[in-house]
Amino acid sequence: MTNIVVLNSQTHRHLRVQAGASAELGDNQRFVHVAISEFPALVVHYPIFFAKDSETGAFFAGAMLGFGENLFLSADGKGQDAYRPLNLQRQPFFVAGSDLAIDLDSPRVGRGEALFQESGEPTPYLQTIVAAFRELRPGFEMTKVFIDTLLKLKLIEPITVDLGFDDGSRLKLIDLYTIDRNTLQALPDATVLDLFRRGYLHLIYLMIASLKQIPVLAQKKNRRLHESAG
């Protein structure tokens, strides 16, 4: 259940929130919605793909954190051993219009970080949340424009990832999309220049490079399997 209300320094003066990454508190996600501004931080850990929203069919960018589980949560299930995507960091907050809102039914609410100082001023923690949304909100918009540009240029193609693990299990990842490198190679000069000037060429190559994280992720999974078996 959710119970989302607009955050208010009076009513919520003494509210506390558990901020850190935690499996039980909602970080055990295998695929997280991300913004293009996060790509440089993401690419050193995660493969970045496009996927479709099941309700609208619209493309979004996502970072793959694991297969079924988030492989980057530390052994005790608390803490992310790598860059934590903003969409995980911002939990349990939302935006409602121009206001910050919070899900009071989230298991994160109760103990943890204070949101407001006695004076009613936001705490440094709450300020990081505000900053996260300041990046995310226009970030998702900018990501949409990026994706629309790629779609128009037919630069997005489906990719199927076939994985085999040491325990003999196999996994086929479908409904994922990446950059179509053949179309990219064939783009006219003027288009390439335009993509470069808009900063898109850089993002395109980050996405292509990020695919190299797939085997790394698979290795991490194998290590998990060995640990739980041994």
Binding site: K52, D53, S54, E55, T56, G57, A58, F59, L151, K154, I156, E157, P158, D175, Y177
Partner: protein, 514 residues
């Protein structure tokens, strides 16, 4: 002197004219720079027929090829999905008498003919349900794809229902804005001939003379060029297919979110049958009947009974139809497409698909010059005559298998005199084996493939006496295919959205191009 064929003039701006323009212009885009032109002349005074709302899955590739966005097509033509047709009361006339002719092939169709296996151990299931999920998808009112399925791709094979009044203007915008088709609004007054009998030019009231190298006659029932000018006779088919009149009406839904069928519903009546096509904003309903077997009053009554009280205040349009086609379709430098080529009752929505196939054939085989045109014309005539013949056979099949004897219409329809020889022979053959690949369905792009015959034959209770020992050795494969079909059916039923819900989403969010 060898003159290249590069000025194509189409007369008529209905579904046929604009589809032909789009298909030809898209195929020859590359030549536009070097003088190839497509001109469409349309009378501002004579309207288009404005009916014809059921299509075949070929429409998906046709629209994709000419570069139309499927999302725009859904939004601008009141488009809906069509997953085939259900035929009610055709066999016995009883209330529970119905079968589907779906658009999906039987499971493993290219691998094995499931009919003999089904005949021996159907376990009470209809042929359609035993071999294909689509009947059940239609029963459940499900769409054939999801919002995440790319444009023109399917989970279950589909065609469209569309608003014919919106489709022609939609194609017109695309053809003129994107494909470089010239649109001339003018009445053709006279058709001017050259010495060799070819058409040299058209004289129009509003736009002077329009010369051309190849003329495509899409002028509708009037067949202005091929019929009136070149005098190609009309081959009447009303001795086989009796219906000659249509009463059409547009019926609003009771509520805007009322369920909408994703298949055409065709319900047999006393002297013909009623089509029922669900578009997002209204249903298109029409009674196609034989005026030799029913008075107009009786037909109006039957239509009113079908529609119910909602018919009060709605205007019913009477459209005379004439079953038959031109004896040849391409003569001199003139080829006819659409109603100008011919018309058969719209029982299996075969008209628009034939327009697409003809336009494609013209575009692909576009003669390089006048010298080779007659060779292309002969081929075109051969293929097109074959197609009309097969459509006549297939439509008649729906009638000859009836057991109805409640009116002269049905009794006359099974009279052997009215059954084409080829169909008679096929029915005789199929008494002892079931239609499949090797059964004369050997032409590329057969309008109705063997699978269609299977669905209609066994849907209408026809039984082939197959030799049980004949299928020895394939029982295991057959059992596996039937199992697979059950699994695919379960999966599709759990994942596909409701028909209307998906169309709403396409309006709201659009489909993705990939």
């Amino acid at each position: 002197m060898v003159r290249p064929i590069q000025n194509i003039v189409i007369v008529g701006g209905g579904t046929a004219g604009w589809l032909a323009a789009g298909v030809i212009a898209a195929r020859h885009q590359g030549r536009m720079k070097t003088g190839f032109t497509v001109t469409l002349v349309e009378s501002p005074n004579i309207g288009i027929i404005g009916v014809g709302e059921g299509t075949w899955p070929t429409m998906r590739s046709t629209l994709e090829k000419i570069g139309v966005s499927e999302t725009a097509f859904f939004r601008e033509c009141d488009t809906a999905f069509k997953q085939g047709a259900s035929f009610a009361r055709w066999t016995t006339g009883a209330a529970n008498d119905a079968y589907y002719h779906p658009l999906m092939l039987p499971q493993g169709f290219t691998q094995l003919n499931l009919v003999p296996h089904w005949l021996r151990s159907g376990r009470g299931r209809s042929f359609c349900d035993a071999v294909c999920p689509q009947g059940q998808l239609c029963d459940d009112g499900l769409a054939p794809k999801m919002i995440t399925t790319p444009e023109y791709q399917a989970v279950a094979n589909y065609a469209y229902h569309l608003d014919a009044g919106k489709f022609a203007p939609f194609l017109q915008r695309h053809c003129t804005e994107k494909l470089g088709v010239r649109h001339v609004q003018a009445d053709v007054l006279t058709v001017n001939r050259a010495e060799n009998g070819d058409i040299a030019s058209l004289t129009t009231r509003q736009a002077g003379d329009i010369p051309g190298d190849l003329f495509v006659d899409c002028s509708g029932f009037s067949a202005l060029l091929l019929g009136k000018t070149l005098g190609v006779p009309f081959k009447d088919c009303s001795d086989v297919l009796f219906c000659d009149t249509a009463l059409a009406v547009q019926v609003p839904y009771e509520t805007p979110d009322a369920p909408m069928a994703s298949h055409t519903i065709s319900t047999a009546q006393k002297a013909g049958w009623i089509w029922d096509i669900g578009l997002p904003t209204r249903r298109g309903i029409g009674y196609v009947y034989s005026s030799r077997h029913s008075s107009e009053e009786a037909a109006q009554e039957e239509l009113a009974r079908y529609v119910g009280p909602a018919i009060k205040g709605l205007s019913v349009r009477k459209i005379p139809i004439r079953s038959g086609h031109r004896e040849t379709f391409w003569k001199n430098n003139c080829v006819a497409v659409g109603l100008a080529a011919g018309f058969l009752e719209p029982l299996e929505a075969s008209a628009i698909v034939l327009v697409e196939l003809s336009a494609k054939l013209i575009a692909e085989q576009m003669p390089a010059n006048r010298e080779v045109m007659d060779i292309v014309a002969a081929r075109f005539n051969d293929v097109t005559s074959y197609r009309w013949g097969r459509i006549v056979d297939f439509l008649k099949l729906h009638y000859v298998l009836t057991k109805r004897t409640d009116s002269r219409f049905w009794i006359d329809n099974v009279d052997p005199v009215s059954v084409p020889d080829r169909l008679k022979n096929l029915l005789l053959l199929w008494k002892y084996r079931s239609p499949w690949f090797f059964d004369e369905f050997d032409r590329l792009e057969e309008v109705f493939p063997a699978a269609s015959y299977q669905y209609v034959l066994y849907g209408m209770g026809f039984r082939s006496e197959v030799d049980p020992s004949d299928s020895d050795g394939t029982d295991a494969i057959a059992a596996r295919l039937v199992e697979e079909n059950a699994a695919v059916t379960r999966r599709m039923r759990s994942q596909l959205p409701k028909n209307r819900d998906l169309i709403r989403k396409i309006h709201d969010f659009g489909l993705q191009p990939i």
